[in-house]
Symmetry: C2
Subunit: 415 residues, 2 copies
């Protein structure tokens, strides 16, 4: 079955917002086995929208629109859909009541034009909106057997409505039996092509489950998607394939699905009942900030010092002035002394020291922008890593944070 | 003149990447006075791409494609363009040489298929790619007077090629005289509709310059765009309108164009020759990290303590244990004591203390998730602000960081 996505809205045509609804719907529909062959964006203009919908209906079996279900005169998607399929509009009492209730519960005064949102194409299935006022609509064209689905534009409303109502409808309508399940293996430390090389055999040979690699903010995600009669069977297929590829890339996998590097570090720290403190220089607090993105991180993070000046490194982290004088603030010796110093001052099981040159200034002949030292001191002894990172100041900070969290993860696994 | 943007690529159809080329091109073209009425995405399939381009050419004067100029067999955009306009392809020697040079300079071995990128539609204008290998192409159809422009898919290649070559071509081709200049006034602290209300009169009455409001990560940007015979004249128009709206919203404007809150704070700290240190609890280092995103921040940021535990607040920031015991760690008194303590310990002109409940745990009956205190101690005395922020843990951290930077900006302006 061929699907066309039609996104509506002037903000999209003016380039004021990025369209995230289309990739969300495309990914979901592809997993269900539909082919999304076209995506079109058009403004809130009756004639142009009607022509775009007509073209879409000619080349696709299912057309899914987003946007234009709001209360204003510019919101015309349902009307244009009805007009194209020669259906009239009628006032849908239950939707009107639901919209009135929505406002009453929030003690907001409803303006009359909100009731426009209860006008529906004759014969349409009405889909409740659990996150907002605009209902969605499914219109089946009896003559052609084709379907137009109107979804609201706000991404959280659209995604909730798709998952709770549209996906079950499509599965039922097209006899999509069983389950489609995905699992993401999140990796760090190996580039996309090197990772692909290692598991190439499985990427090429697999049709169920399928394997896909996606680069995401310095991580590479390996996505395994399986279809089977039941969720249990699909999970079984995923687990089998995971068992085959894990031995090839296991050291790079840090988490499953939504498990970030900081979450995998969190699990290890809690499991081993360890506490931590950091002395951050070039990262300016970014690593500690990521660690504290995890709820409950106060159970293992005691505190950190952002020691931007040498005085703070000496007075508040316990680095000796001689170490800085003889090796420089950006050196293995200083990083190690920072890790040791913060561990002692903050009485933690583990201390981390990070020093480097984030740029654009501060480089010398033998110490370029991007040079970073990351030291860890703890129950498994002392380690220090030297890196040369590319990119601008915020890139270097971001890459250092990822590397530091990953070094910590490896360190914790040895304890 | 009507423009249609055609984005090509399987990754877009599968929903694996978000399309940022379309909004970039749409924004630029709208500023030039073109109407971008349609945006279409299609995969690397000859027949479907040809049909999409045919439809586009029927309803638009200019069609701009992105993607499909690479070296692989799947890269077919130029061939399909040529085929649609009944043009043959030929080998463009200068492009081949430039591509060979590109690889030689980087000491990378070039595979033969890279020379496919030098195959060009007969009669096309060839556009050099300053950031990559694939040249761009402008094909003018003599019979219809319409134009197809093929641009590379990687966003940095596309934007560079558009700005250096395509924009001048379009201005020249369509006699777009003079200059179009934009200025963004970045604001914080007032919602989009409240801000709109204040300058509504100017939004509605203006056609040149135009005024647009854009919400961006908790900031609202007021974009002023003027067209005039010369850049100086356009700037004059902008300055006049800015002079009229500034008095209405001046307290909310923190920067111009790419000036972030941390950059505006940086300018004030340097100008007034002040130094700063922070004691961050619920933000976990995020505020200091943002401050250190600015190059040269080591000139005023001495250091910070991320005092996640009460022990660190007492031992390393100088908060008295009694203050915490009698008021709680999340209280005005503790925030003020943190600001005063870090200022003294780190010998700076200004100290900032931030404490709050980021959630999801930690709330009590009278202290909900999202309650945050931000205190500043310095030459202009002591201030403390109480906030109730919405959202999840990272939302609360992000909103606290924006608020803290903005409070600091206001504080510095009074010194």
């Amino acid at each position: 079955m061929i699907v066309e996505l039609v996104s509506t809205g002037t903000e999209l045509l003016l380039g004021q917002i990025v369209n995230t609804n289309a990739p969300f719907l495309a990914a979901q529909l592809n997993e269900l086995g539909f082919s999304v062959l076209y995506q079109t964006t058009v403004g809130d203009n009756r004639e142009r929208m009607k022509n775009v919908l007509r073209t879409a209906l000619a080349r696709a079996d299912i057309v899914i629109t987003s946007g234009g279900l709001g209360p204003t005169q510019g919101d015309i998607t349902k009307e244009v859909t009805a007009s194209l399929l020669n259906k009239s509009m009628y006032f849908h009492e239950p939707s009107a009541e639901r919209i009135q209730r929505y406002f009453a519960e929030r003690r907001i005064c409803m303006s009359d034009n909100n009731l426009r949102q209860a006008m529906m194409p004759e014969g349409a299935k009405i889909i409740d909106n659990t996150c907002g006022t605009a209902p969605g609509v499914i219109v089946e064209d009896q003559t052609s057997g084709k379907i137009i689905i109107n979804l609201p534009g706000p991404p959280h409303e659209l995604s909730a409505m798709f998952e709770t109502s549209i996906m079950p409808y499509l599965k039922n309508q097209f006899g999509i039996q069983g389950a489609i399940v995905s699992r993401v293996l999140r990796t760090y430390g190996l580039g996309e092509s090197a990772l692909e090389e290692k598991i190439k055999k499985y990427i090429l040979s697999q049709s169920n489950p399928t394997l896909a690699l996606l680069a995401r903010n310095g991580e590479i995600h390996v996505r395994i998607t399986a279809r089977a009669a039941s969720e249990i069977d699909a999970l079984q297929l995923i687990t089998e394939l995971e068992g085959q590829i894990r031995p090839l890339i296991n050291e790079y996998i840090f988490g499953i699905d939504d498990e970030t590097l900081e979450k995998s570090v969190s699990k290890l720290l809690l499991e081993k009942e360890l506490t931590i403190a950091l002395a951050e220089s070039c990262t300016g607090g970014l690593v500690t900030s990521r660690i504290t993105d995890v709820p409950g991180s106060s159970r293992y993070l005691i505190g950190s010092v952002i020691c931007y000046s040498n005085e703070v490194k000496v007075a508040h982290v316990g680095v000796s002035a001689e170490i800085i004088a003889s090796n420089g603030a950006v050196s293995q010796e200083t990083a190690e002394s920072m890790a040791k110093g913060i561990k002692e001052k903050y009485c933690t099981s583990i201390g981390i020291g990070i020093t480097g040159i984030a740029g654009p200034d501060g480089a010398t002949a033998d110490k370029p922008v991007g040079l970073v030292y990351i030291a860890i001191e703890g129950p498994a002894g002392r380690v220090c890593y030297q890196h040369y990172f590319n990119g601008n100041r915020t890139d270097v900070k971001h890459r250092t944070a990822l590397a530091a969290l990953n070094h910590l993860r490896h360190y914790l696994r040895t304890i």
